[in-house]
């Protein structure tokens, strides 16, 4: 059965026309997106997660539109199918830290609450720097090789600091987070934030939050990042142990791993300059963000000492 015909029946829609086959279509109630799911457990997690985040924060998410029977998805030959709103208008970043703080703070709070319940989602694999370093081959430009060799020592020091910071703390839970990358996933509906969550498998880690904050910092700068952290802190206690745990995540040199993987994957050999440039940029953003974050975390402590 054609999927559009099935959607017509399940959702009581009538005027449907594909914009992009099996992805987006026009309907009498606006443009909608179809998502196919192979893993039912993951789908159920996404339904519950989106409902909870949206209800708690009041921020609109690309939640599953209910069928006429009130179900969040239906089954077809290709697997489970969910239907979502497709919004095009992007949400601005300027002076919207309050909205973003509410969303990200709620995501972190709910993620932490879920930490005990969702055992199937694993921690992100720990970075094996030695193995990454071993991947450097002689075939690249000697200058690039020199940079990577030197950066290895700094990367090792960052890993050591991250572990040291983590080991000094009492063991605390990590939140369950789904991908927060791509700020372009933020759309707007009547001047309100509408966040497109995607369909990724979540992880038990602060890594998605780090990726998000790095992108935010790069796009919006230091002042806005501090404002955002303050807003997040209204919904999730980021100052304190969780802030330190997040700081230890930000110290890990993932960009080092990525640059080596990219350089030695066969199709990237010719883009060496671009890859190295990207590496320098990410390294610098990561360094600045760690500095900003540690200052932000110590801010209250310094104030208390000054008094």
């Amino acid at each position: 059965m054609d999927i559009l015909r099935q959607i017509r029946v399940e959702y009581g829609l009538s005027e449907l026309k594909w914009i992009k086959q099996d992805e987006t279509f026009h309907s009498e109630y606006g443009t909608k997106r179809v998502r196919f799911w192979k893993d039912k457990q993951l789908l159920l997690w996404h339904v519950k997660w989106r409902d909870e985040i949206s209800q708690q924060s009041g921020v609109l998410l690309d939640r599953m539109i209910r069928t006429e029977d009130g179900n969040p998805f239906f089954y077809c030959e290709k697997g489970w199918v969910s239907l979502h709103d497709e919004i095009e208008e992007p949400f601005p970043f300027n002076r919207t830290e309050k909205d973003w703080g509410r969303l990200i703070g709620t995501i972190l709070a709910v993620g932490l609450k879920q930490s005990d319940d969702c055992h199937r989602f694993k921690k992100t694999e720990s970075l094996s720097l030695k193995a990454v370093h071993g991947g450097i081959k002689d075939e690249i430009d000697p200058m690039a090789k020199l940079v990577l060799e030197r950066s290895y020592f700094e990367a090792k020091s960052r890993v050591r600091k991250a572990h040291h910071l983590r080991d000094r703390m009492h063991p605390i839970k990590l939140p369950i987070l789904t991908s927060l990358s791509k700020l372009a996933n933020a759309k707007q509906v009547f001047f309100h934030l509408f966040w497109v969550c995607g369909a990724d498998e979540p992880v038990r880690s602060y890594q998605p939050f780090r990726v998000f904050l790095e992108e935010w910092y790069e796009l919006n700068g230091e002042d806005s990042t501090v404002k955002l952290l303050n807003e997040i802190n209204c919904y999730f206690a980021l100052k304190g142990d969780h802030g330190k745990l997040f700081l230890s995540e930000c110290l890990l040199p993932y960009e080092y791993e990525d640059v080596i993987n990219e350089l030695f994957s066969s199709n990237k050999k010719n883009d060496m300059d671009i890859v190295m440039d990207k590496f320098f940029k990410r390294w610098e953003i990561s360094r600045s963000l760690v500095l900003l974050l540690s200052n932000w975390l110590e801010e209250d402590h310094k104030k208390a000492v000054a008094k």
């Binding site: 009498e28 109630y29 409902d51 609109l60 599953m64 209910r66 969040p72």
Partner: protein, 342 residues
């Protein structure tokens, strides 16, 4: 192509988006917006429910649906399945718009109301796990509250007596004060009897209570049925309390008669027979002269919008109502079958 004619009001747009409603016309009626769209005509209600209250409200509506109780105005879920939307400290929900209400005879309105109240209570009533502490606490709380109110009223009477020129309203109140005071004592006695009976039986019942059911919260459909609405104050409580609230609210529409009360109770009891102790509790709620005290509160806060004469008229009407309540309690509510044979 749908052209969204919603005003450039971001809050309203945010809410209607979640219903996929593209309004062609919006009219305001107090806290309700009438939204005319291609999908149909709807009532969007704005309320002050907190998130917690809204969750309870949604739970109540879903529970009633599960119980197949269909004499309520349904709540239309958002496209994401939520029954309410919280936005900027307000809660919103959507219902179908009904405009043509049936023209019922005055006496029929309350009969329909008490019939539905009985059904609602009958469907949801459950014996509760007995707790002496719960009974004792409820009793003590109510006694304290009533005593505080009684003292306030006594103070008002004393103040009036000290005046050189007593107003007509104060004079009317003073004339009946000792009777009202006596009624307050009778209420306390009935309440004590309720407590003693509960403790002796070691049981009590609770049901889903609407919380403020009167003519304003029921839609009289031309098909002859009454459909309840506005469950924002719904709670789990004794049926006697909800019944007392509806009795009191219904007194206000016309000069209530004892016979009407008998009919209301009989209609209610077609669905749920009250236990002896529940009747005592209902009697205590009804005979406590709160409606008189409430009138005094209004008089003390008067701002000139109601004349002295109007205040006197309201008070007189309420005093008559209380006398009839007194008769109703003795002749109907607490009358035992053995009394009838005498």
């Amino acid at each position: 192509m749908i052209y969204n004619k919603a005003p450039q009001n971001s809050s309203l747009g945010y809410i209607l988006f979640q219903y996929d409603l593209y309004p062609e016309k919006i009219e305001q009626f107090g806290k309700v917006k009438k939204v005319v769209s291609r999908k149909g005509t709807f009532a969007l209600k704005e309320s002050t429910m907190t998130n917690e209250q809204a969750n309870w409200f949604s739970h109540v509506m879903r529970r009633l649906e599960k119980l197949n109780y269909n004499k309520i105005i349904p709540i239309i879920p958002t496209k994401y399945g939520d029954l309410t939307i919280s936005h900027q400290n307000k809660t919103y929900y959507l219902q179908p718009w009904f405009s043509e209400e049936a023209e019922l005879r005055e006496d029929k309105k309350e009969l329909t109301l008490f019939k539905q109240l009985g059904k609602l209570h009958g469907l949801t009533v459950k014996p509760q796990e007995f707790s002496k502490e719960t009974i004792e606490n409820s009793y003590q709380d109510l006694i304290k509250r009533w005593e505080k109110r009684r003292l306030e009223m006594e103070y008002f009477a004393e103040e009036a007596e000290r005046k050189a020129y007593i107003s007509p309203f104060e004079l009317t109140y003073l004339t009946h004060f000792s009777r009202m005071d006596m009624m307050a004592n009778v209420a306390v006695n009935y309440l004590k009897e309720w407590r003693d009976q509960c403790l002796e039986k070691e049981s009590y019942r609770a049901c889903l209570c609407h919380g403020k059911l009167d003519r304003n919260h029921i839609f009289y459909h031309p098909n002859g049925y009454g459909y309840l609405l506005n469950f924002e104050k719904a709670v789990l409580d004794t049926p006697a309390r909800d019944l007392a609230i509806s009795f009191r609210r219904s007194f206000q529409y016309n000069l209530w008669s004892e016979d009407q009360g008998s009919d209301w109770l009989a209609t209610y009891e077609d669905s749920l027979l009250l236990e002896d102790e529940e009747k005592k509790l209902l009697a205590s709620y009804l005979i406590y002269p709160e409606i008189i005290f409430h009138c005094i509160d209004h008089y003390r806060k008067r701002d000139g919008s109601i004349t002295e004469l109007q205040f006197v008229q309201v008070l007189e009407k309420r005093i008559i109502t209380m006398s009839r309540v007194d008769h109703f309690i003795h002749n109907t509510l607490l009358r035992k079958p053995s009394d009838e044979s005498k």
